[in-house]
Symmetry: D2
Subunit: 306 residues, 4 copies
Amino acid sequence: MELQVVEQAVAAASDKTCEGKVATYIPELGKADGSRVGVSVFSRSGERLSVGDTKTRFSIQSISKVISLAVALELCGFDMVFQNVGMEPSGDAFNSMVKLEYAHSVPYNPMINAGAIVIASYLARRISFEEMMRTSRSLCLDPDIVLDENVYRSEMSNISRNRAIAYLLESKGYIEKDVEKCLHFYVKMCSLSVTAESLAGLGLVLANDGIHPATGERLLQEQTVRVVKTIMLTCGMYDGSGQFAVRVGIPSKSGVGGGILSVIDREMGIGIYGPALDDKGNSVAGRYILEYLSEKWHLHLFDNRK
Amino acid sequence: MELQVVEQAVAAASDKTCEGKVATYIPELGKADGSRVGVSVFSRSGERLSVGDTKTRFSIQSISKVISLAVALELCGFDMVFQNVGMEPSGDAFNSMVKLEYAHSVPYNPMINAGAIVIASYLARRISFEEMMRTSRSLCLDPDIVLDENVYRSEMSNISRNRAIAYLLESKGYIEKDVEKCLHFYVKMCSLSVTAESLAGLGLVLANDGIHPATGERLLQEQTVRVVKTIMLTCGMYDGSGQFAVRVGIPSKSGVGGGILSVIDREMGIGIYGPALDDKGNSVAGRYILEYLSEKWHLHLFDNRK
Amino acid sequence: MELQVVEQAVAAASDKTCEGKVATYIPELGKADGSRVGVSVFSRSGERLSVGDTKTRFSIQSISKVISLAVALELCGFDMVFQNVGMEPSGDAFNSMVKLEYAHSVPYNPMINAGAIVIASYLARRISFEEMMRTSRSLCLDPDIVLDENVYRSEMSNISRNRAIAYLLESKGYIEKDVEKCLHFYVKMCSLSVTAESLAGLGLVLANDGIHPATGERLLQEQTVRVVKTIMLTCGMYDGSGQFAVRVGIPSKSGVGGGILSVIDREMGIGIYGPALDDKGNSVAGRYILEYLSEKWHLHLFDNRK
Amino acid sequence: MELQVVEQAVAAASDKTCEGKVATYIPELGKADGSRVGVSVFSRSGERLSVGDTKTRFSIQSISKVISLAVALELCGFDMVFQNVGMEPSGDAFNSMVKLEYAHSVPYNPMINAGAIVIASYLARRISFEEMMRTSRSLCLDPDIVLDENVYRSEMSNISRNRAIAYLLESKGYIEKDVEKCLHFYVKMCSLSVTAESLAGLGLVLANDGIHPATGERLLQEQTVRVVKTIMLTCGMYDGSGQFAVRVGIPSKSGVGGGILSVIDREMGIGIYGPALDDKGNSVAGRYILEYLSEKWHLHLFDNRK
């Protein structure tokens, strides 16, 4: 785990950022600087490498789906969580409504919007957003996570498609009444303000099977972490998840704010910031860096050269 | 790796076979005895456990997709293989044509029929079926694999849907002309006659990164095996792959002949026979046994209790 | 046009009502008596036949889509109306969202919910509901049409699916902001309280090319009426429209309140009440009666025996 | 019915042909001259107007679906014909397979390829192609109709998509075995060589309710003609049928060879040749001419100014 390798990765990835675009479907996201790149690597042995913009705050967006799933598993248990949401990759875009209609099924998994809205509905009745924010700080080893009010407001002003998804879910009996409360909860979670370091912290906790790496405190049950890592692997990179698993082989979750959370099981957590996105919504620099590190450090799940 | 655990698994699974049904869409498959169950476990250390019907021959069916993908990767290379077939789980049934139509895309992955037919089209122009059969014997550590002529003929008499898929692929330019030759190749591969032991042998070779466990001969490139294992994990259990990854966490591939091939990376290969199938086409007994062994032996990819 | 034929039709249709069910997706609709049947026939010559429950008030539901389309054509003109809504039968159920998603198109026609919500969005900015109600009274030759407050409230409490459709439309830019106002307008129009006689009146005005049959006043432009009759013919009976056109051949529009509006061009208007519905949402008795009258009186568009 | 109006229509339409393109999916069709335009109008009173290229032979293509439907209704009866094919407009492109898959239904109507292949399967077992050709000559009042061998061969060399449709239908039990024979029959019917005058002749027979206009011989049952005209109206212009019904209001059927068959009920038949097609596969010139004549001569089904 040499600093030099990470620096090379960041340097090369910086050249690629021009191939992507910052998200613009929410005005506030459009203000990000697409050329930014930052990577943090936190190892179980305590080593911490940070290169580039690793202290810049950005909105967590879809990566919050990992935290919400974990907390829902802790609060409701496996069976209840997966009563109204599946575990299958969908092969469709993250905001697709097609399978909900044609396949007459529950949302395919908790990493697409429809599934995450079901999870938000479970949570909104059981835990306050403030409590969720405290849990997020704890899981990310970052006490400074706050709600980005500008993102939150901007997103609530452009919520029509997610509102459509939520009401469709409600009409099918998959979420409880008070759809608006559920939507606010969902959007607030997306608007948490994190850094590449926060994500590396969360990745480390997951790599460590849910145990705080310094204090030894159990933050999440072992089974919760297992489920979360598996679903990150099969569904974490939008409709590019399958390709990412083959090429990179690292359980990861990306967000349109430009972040990627990655877990090298039993070894390390990686957090990335790079707001220029490819056409599937994944950070261009992030994907490049993870492919680079996977190759150099033999991080692929089925790479036994390490 | 105690024999007793496997025996318990088989005994319990035998009680479940009545919940499934043998495949009947091909008359020849309908002749199987749904109560049969057999499991073989071959470890890298050389240990071999076999319980139940592990010497009964049955048709490999979709498990041949693993062999075909591996050979195609060796013969054509990664880039060419994935030019006309993707790596994404589809979320649809194995014989669905919907995504081909609506999503205007290449077949989603090599484990669904459409993708495997594309792979068969690559292979049919490059290698004879006889050569493929010899390779299959080698990879499965089973010199007795033959073509089951009855299954082959029965399947060719009920090929309309796959023929429709193949001609649709041809009309879109994803496979070359001589569709009929490609279909024969595809069906012959599905009609290979294997045992639970053959599948355990193949699993062991994959667990051993492509190296013959006894002779040390490299049978498949390391990268080929990595790709194959990843795609088995994300797409191997039909549209139940995601759930299987979460609950069991073992790269596996099932076939409607009742077989399941499983790979415990760096540890062992498991082969199962149990022709009573659930509604997704996976062996009922096989799924039960793998869930049981995964729990008892901590075989889940992200189970770190082992 | 003999009374006896209508009486026979009603008698025979009454025996069929047990094959259908009253709509229950809105509690208030579920209170209807499924055995009720009524038919009114108003001819251009001034003759009026009424048999059965022709003075019972019920909610107009989807038949209001005909009035809304007509008024929108008058207020906005053909080109503007069909900018964000098509004229194609969809082949899908009335409340389907699939084509909106997969076909990336505007709603297929103004008779499905999505299309009618677009029309409501045009209207809500241009005309008050009270004015629409007055226009409805005028077009139906029925000064007693009112808003059924119970239906309106019941429907607003079960609006999730239509709300989902409306927000999806808004997210795609097909309807203006203030989605809630548009929804209220849409639901109020569905909650107008009519009788079989009201519908016969409306049918007569359309059969008479938009001219009041008694006063000679032009209520609708000739072109508006032509468009409306054509769309009733191709899209008026939900996803049974094509079959109805073949078998019955009368431009009609049904509603889940149990009403059917029919137009025999240049001859007569027919209004039917029969709240027991078939699985496509059309009145069982109504369909039977129209098939019967079409056969007896040679009313099919292409029946030249008359 | 003045010649001058038809001449004006043709002159104006000729200027529009550059907006379209001749079909190229079959090489033989690509040889057509896109600037050609011809119109024939045959009236019940015996008048015949022909302007432009009305004697040029071209392949009938999808217009043969009208003849096949009519003959199938005569040979098998209404109920049997509509057992494995529906009467609903599909809203999808003519060669779509999506509804077959997702909606688990029979083909939507006899005017799309899937439906016409079902009809061809009925016919191929009951009547020889030579007999069908003789019937076509009789119905089109054109004894010179022949099979265009070049088109037939060209089409059979590019049949993959239709072959896929046919085998999918066979796999679902909607057509009988001997799919290849059925396909040959279907393609031969598409390869009949007609002129604008042939189509005007067929239109006149349909306008005359199935009776030969000169001899008075009944060629088709009255009910057969009624069904055919209705389905032409709702489904005849591919996925532009609804819009065409609203704007033009004339039961018509187009083919990618550039022909359009139109029926002005009780009045006249119109045949058009104009091989430059719009993006839905309808003749650009043909659509323009029909809209022009409909407006000038008040031919719209619901135009009562005539």
